[in-house]
């Protein structure tokens, strides 16, 4: 027993040293996810609140009481930021529009309501290039609503319906884009750590090191345990580092449930390492292993809801993402790190179960392949 402990501590120390001396580990495990996070945060995490805002220019060519009243009300709309704060000439406004300085130009009516001249005309001018853009649609929507309200008021009717939008989430916190990217990248880094990490096994077999160890009384089970412990440690470093950067540099907010985080972390690391183990059992060279791991990791990166929600993918692709282990890992991680809900929810445990099943199947298959090839592998 005592000797096993000593053997384990030596193996653990050796593996720790090797992991931290390997430059690739630093690059793929630390540097790469951090860079990826910074890039994605800068692209998608730009505005901190989700409120819509558009710059518009106002044209009021023939100021009149009605246009003054409308201008007053437009100023009150939070979503519009009026360029230069005052109405400008039509030429000036169109120039801004074409230069892209404003998203739209609103031209106020030239005359008061007069049944003979027809209804007052509120004009919306947009750049042809951006006719279909989200901003144009939104501005048109807001203006449309504005006109409707005006009409109702003019007719002296009170609105019968009122739309109230409220978002609902499963847990105590709303998932913002930043939290989404942060948790997604943590999941991706840990998954990649597992899937790429087993390249050591391929190298050890190629160099005859596995064979060499089999000729000693070394306990290979202890060696595997040491390896897993180092991997867990490295994954903890990844989580802490990415979280710190996400929270302090980009203002992501986390509500962590330690117990469910522990569960999803443990099962995730083990399952993805088992996948790596399976890859290592079928690949004779490092190049082959890297190719397989890259394909698996890239497919999952885009299909498992790491950078954008699964719901935004085309209908026919969604079943694929409902099979991938990374989908369940990232969901579980979000449950544990953002909603702080996990442990009580049935979906959480279902996801953990599917993730664990992946791990068990990969490990079983890998072991079987190793065993069947062990004689051939030694010539």
């Amino acid at each position: 027993m005592n000797r096993s402990m000593k053997q384990f501590s030596k193996m653990f120390a050796a593996q720790l040293k090797m992991t931290f001396r390997e430059k690739q580990t630093w690059f793929w495990g630390i540097f790469f996810p951090v860079i990826l996070m910074v890039v994605f945060m800068l692209i998608f995490g730009g505005s901190s609140d989700n409120a819509f805002e558009a710059k518009v220019a106002i044209v009021d060519e023939a100021a009149n009481p009605a246009s003054a009243a409308i201008l007053e009300q437009l100023r009150a709309v939070d979503a519009f930021e009026i360029e230069s704060g005052e109405p400008v000439s039509r030429e000036q406004a169109e120039e801004w529009l074409l230069d892209g300085d404003v998203a739209a130009v609103i031209a106020l009516p030239a005359a008061s309501a007069d049944s003979a001249a027809g209804p007052m005309r509120l004009e919306l001018i947009v750049d042809k290039e951006n006719e279909q853009s989200v901003t144009t649609q939104a501005v048109a929507g807001i203006l449309g609503q504005f006109v409707t309200m005006g009409n109702l008021a003019a007719a002296g009717a009170a609105p019968v319906y009122e739309l109230s939008v409220e978002s609902v989430t499963r847990g105590s916190n709303e998932l913002t884009v930043k939290d989404f990217i942060l948790t997604g990248l943590i999941a991706m880094s840990i998954a990649q750590g597992g899937m790429f990490g087993m390249v050591d096994m391929v190298e050890m077999r190629r160099k005859g090191l596995l064979k060499r160890l089999r000729m000693t009384p070394a306990k290979m089970g202890l060696y595997g345990l040491g390896d897993m412990t180092v991997r867990m440690l490295f994954a903890v470093v990844q989580i802490i580092l990415l979280s710190l950067i996400g929270v302090f540099a980009f203002g992501a907010s986390l509500y962590i449930d330690p117990l469910s985080l522990f569960v999803v972390f443990l099962v995730g690391v083990l399952s993805f390492t088992a996948m790596g183990y399976l890859f290592s059992s079928v690949c004779k060279t490092m190049e082959a292993y890297m190719a397989v791991a890259n394909i698996a990791s890239f497919l999952m990166m885009f299909l498992a809801g790491i950078f954008f929600p699964v719901e935004t993918m085309p209908e026919w692709l969604r079943p694929v993402s409902h099979v991938l282990p990374l989908t369940y890992f990232v969901d579980g991680l979000r449950d544990a790190m953002v909603y702080a809900s996990g442990i009580v929810s049935g979906t959480f445990w279902l996801g953990i179960g599917i993730l664990a099943l992946w791990g068990v199947v990969c490990f079983g298959l890998g072991s079987l392949l190793y065993k069947s090839k062990s004689i051939a592998a030694t010539r």
Partner: protein
């Protein structure tokens, strides 16, 4: 006392009959060398003995212990340096040795091994930065960690420069001094001749000769090649050739310019008589050499093949 008995070992891989009935015994304290060309079955034989490959038939016994029932006990008794220098490249020699030491109950001191393999200066360099010879010495050091009774060295000097080879020879001789049994395979005849107590020549999966290096050489014909150089005087060489051809001990004589080659069953006597003749005629002999038979000749004689490295 025999520390290792191998009886009628056989192994086939599909149609390839790699080992076809190999038997030998190794005594305690001896350096036992297996030589043979590539694909002769050396490595397969060694791997069966080391417990890596199960033989199709035959028995392997380490002083009464077999792999089936006493694998752990055998692993404690043997130390192996495999052909590929298998070690942890990102660790230093010292860390490698200490890691391997943790596998055994009574390991040798790391310090002592570092000195023996002459790597004390490089103890803190990562293995990937070491030279081929240094790596090979470390591989031997790793085989010695458990202070084993039997050490297997599989082509320890292949691909090394002459100085590095000499360093490895020193280690093997030191092991012999310590009373260890060494089982060695090599491509180099010179090495087998220099280090071994007994040599086993393997070809096409069979042992074709097994004896001490000297006895193997003795088994061949006793002719020795004698070379004389007559300082550029062709006439002298021609005269000497005529004289030598009449000697009973000389089997054959060939002259190339001022160079004379003789094959003699009694080279000392041939030379004595020839020198009498040259002194009388006052011919100046510049160079004389007697080429010893080597294991290479033995190998060629036994297998009928050219030796190839």
């Amino acid at each position: 006392m025999n520390v290792l008995d191998v009886r009628d070992l056989r192994k086939s891989f599909g149609d390839v009959h790699a080992v076809q009935g190999i038997s030998f015994s190794v005594e305690a304290g001896e350096v036992f060398t297996i030589i043979g060309p590539n694909g002769a079955g050396k490595t397969t034989t060694l791997e069966m003995i080391e417990g890596l490959v199960p033989p199709d038939s035959g028995t392997i016994s380490f002083g009464g212990l077999n792999w089936r029932h006493y694998a752990d006990a055998i692993k404690m008794k043997i130390g192996v340096q495999p052909q590929s220098s298998a070690m942890f490249d990102l660790l230093t020699p010292e860390e490698n040795l200490e890691l391997f030491a943790s596998f055994y109950p009574h390991p040798r001191q790391t310090e002592e091994i570092l000195q023996m393999i002459n790597l004390t200066e490089h103890r803190n360099k990562q293995v990937k930065t070491l030279s081929g010879g240094q790596r090979q010495r470390l591989a031997i050091g790793l085989a010695m960690v458990s202070d084993p009774e039997i050490i297997f060295l599989d082509e320890p000097t292949t691909g090394l420069d002459p100085q590095a080879r000499r360093n490895i020879w020193d280690i093997v001789l030191k092991l012999k001094e310590l009373g260890k049994t060494t089982i060695l395979t090599t491509h180099y005849m010179e090495e087998a001749e220099k280090l071994s107590d007994r040599v086993c020549i393997v070809d096409q999966g069979k042992i074709i000769a097994l004896d001490t290096p000297a006895a193997l050489i003795d088994r061949l014909t006793k002719e020795r090649e004698v070379r004389l150089s007559f300082a550029g005087v062709e006439e002298a060489a021609a005269e000497a050739e005529r004289y030598a051809s009449q000697e009973a001990s000389v089997v054959r004589a060939v002259r190339e310019g001022a160079q004379l080659k003789l094959w003699s069953v009694q080279p000392e006597e041939t030379l004595y008589s020839l020198f009498g003749f040259t002194k009388e005629r006052e011919y100046r002999v510049e160079q004389v050499s007697i080429r010893e038979m080597s294991l290479e000749d033995v190998f060629i004689a036994f297998t009928g093949k050219e030796w190839r490295d």
